[in-house]
């Protein structure tokens, strides 16, 4: 995971509350075998509507989503975070997030900052008055800056530390790599290994055919 200290990008005002994960990414997109390439799936149902914010050219390349309260409720699908990230979002700001969505975001390196409803409103006004305006999010100072306006946001200390260090769960475990290596040295010899492959003699399997 990349280390996150500050990010500057186009702010996207999403004037909606209770954006659930089915709206972020509909279930039909869950059959895919890839972990990337979900950008087309993001807000798929709304993208067909010309007036939807991401369909306005000024916002199309946005990377900081400014949403209403209770963002990310509903199904626990990790795909919601993948879709936001694949589209290009680095940060979502909202007055309140669903727990699982926040947890998944933290694992995947998407910053979720909690602002007061008041400050969200201020940001919405600024972004709508001047579409395409940039926002700077400093994880270090826990502030959001948009033009003259600088306001604080909240984020869990542990998650912030992990994001600033660029550590996902795997990265964290790998910090204990020495302990893992040490443990491996104590494993008994007879513990099975899949390689080199040992197997019974090769045999032909006859293909069953449909019965008429």
């Amino acid at each position: 995971m990349e280390k996150f200290t500050t990010h500057t990008g186009v702010g996207v005002p999403l004037r909606r509350s209770n954006v659930d994960t089915d709206q972020i990414i509909p279930a039909v997109y869950l059959k895919r075998i890839t972990r990337t390439g979900f950008e087309d799936a993001l807000f798929a149902a709304w993208r067909g509507d010309d007036s939807f914010v991401l369909n306005q050219p000024e916002y199309t390349h946005g990377s900081v989503l400014v949403a209403g309260p209770d963002f990310g409720t509903g199904s626990s699908r990790e795909h919601a975070v993948w879709a936001l990230k694949d589209y290009g979002f680095k940060v979502v700001l909202a007055p309140r997030f669903a727990d699982i969505f926040r947890g998944n975001s933290g694992k995947q390196g998407l910053v979720t900052g909690v602002l007061s409803q008041e400050n969200i409103e201020l940001l919405w006004k600024l972004l709508e008055a001047e579409p395409g305006k940039e926002i700077t999010v400093s994880l270090e100072d826990r502030t959001v800056t948009c033009g003259e306006l600088t306001v604080p946001f909240e984020i869990d200390d542990y998650v912030r530390w992990r994001l600033m260090e660029g550590l996902d769960d795997i990265g964290l475990t790998l910090q204990d790599e020495d302990a893992i290596t040490e443990f491996e040295a104590t494993r008994a010899n007879w513990r099975p290994k899949t390689l080199p492959a040992k197997t019974l003699p090769k045999e032909e399997i006859v293909a069953a055919r449909p019965v008429q």
Partner: protein, 474 residues
Amino acid sequence: MGTTLAEKLWANHLVKKGEGGAPDLIYIDLHMCHEVTSPQAFEGLRLAGRQVRRPDLTIATEDHNTPTLDIDLPIADATSRKQVDKLRENAKEFGIRIHSLGDADQGIVHVVGPQLGLTMPGMTVVCGDSHTSTHGAFGALAFGIGTSEVEHVLATQTLPLKPFKTMAINVNGTLPKGTTAKDIILAVIAKIGTGGGAGYVLEYRGDAIRSLSMEGRMTICNMSIEAGARAGLIAPDETTFEYVKGRPHAPEGEDWDEAVEFWRTLKTDDDAEFDTEVDLNAEDLEPFITWGTNPGQGLPLSASVPNPEDFADESDRIAAKNALEYMGLTPGTPFREIPVDTVFLGSCTNGRIEDLRAAAAILQGRKKAENIRLLVVPGSARVRLQAEREGLDKVFLDFGAEWRNAGCSMCLGMNPDQLKPQERSASTSNRNFEGRQGKGGRTHLVSPLVAAATAVRGTLSSPDDLEDAPAALV
């Protein structure tokens, strides 16, 4: 105070104790992959520029999507083919051993591990598949994981985990004839409920469990997950050692002796305490079937379709009502009078050689009932070969059954083996959820003996309902 087997296994694999509420870091001895839950995990590795830490502790097989007919031709369904191709690509790129369709070691991941001797007592075993609990039959801590965890194990060979609670399931007494491991576990689930095991590792104990073969023990541990448990396990004994001995990956010579010496220490101490205990008397058991749409909705075959009004609990009442509606059943109908369309003999629950033998012993010299389609799907290609060596394929074919290639098949209908809407099946698999075996399909979970007797009579039946049933079974 002593410790339980599950706690010993945990302690044996502790890489680092979690401090201040952080989870423990647990080492994983064997990681099995299949095509459905692994693609995003491999892609995650690729995106992060990571390698598989221990390809030599990882194995892949193709099972969920694979067809059971025409396996020498390209897979017809495009999505299935894509998933299988992806697994092959990933295995190649990351240096993982894979058993592909057509290979003698291909088959359901939970049949292949034990068969190759890769599953042994005292291990930790994981797979992106909930029925990984099967491997607990060897006295291993074995459980299913999600795709992010699959990636975690691939990259680190460990998992951050919080300890599980422990539950003893004591089954004592002698099982009546015609009653099997499947009936024990269906009765356990009916007793504790589909959520009764949540957060627990179940340890099955008692002489009824001890007297089971490894196949029977695997059937029981396999379905622990249907009681909501994380894992199920059985302490290893001579039966276990006997099963492992001589398999391709089994230790040899001095290694074998050292291993067995260690394995003998793998049991719950006499003074250990479980968080919960449940008792069941094997003598009281009889062939069990499910009548509803979750594995906890089960009753003895000798009973009748229950009346939802008789359930004391409001939510059980509603669940029963919905289930009967979906299943197309009328309260009060004796189970034995319910006609069945399809009998499915297979899956990681009951697709092993012993299961096929038990069914064949009943079908031998008989013909299937008119209304029945019997699908016999060995759990692995080796099971198929073994059955063919014993002439079981002939017994099935003469009976009028379809003899298929190995895979998950109708257990979840990801391949073409599916029920049609409203079609009724007696299935030796483990889940009777709505639509699991095909949209609108109606599933009764049964043992291989009940499956076979049902195929003969055409209605839900046990071996005692047959004239001249093999003496050993009645």
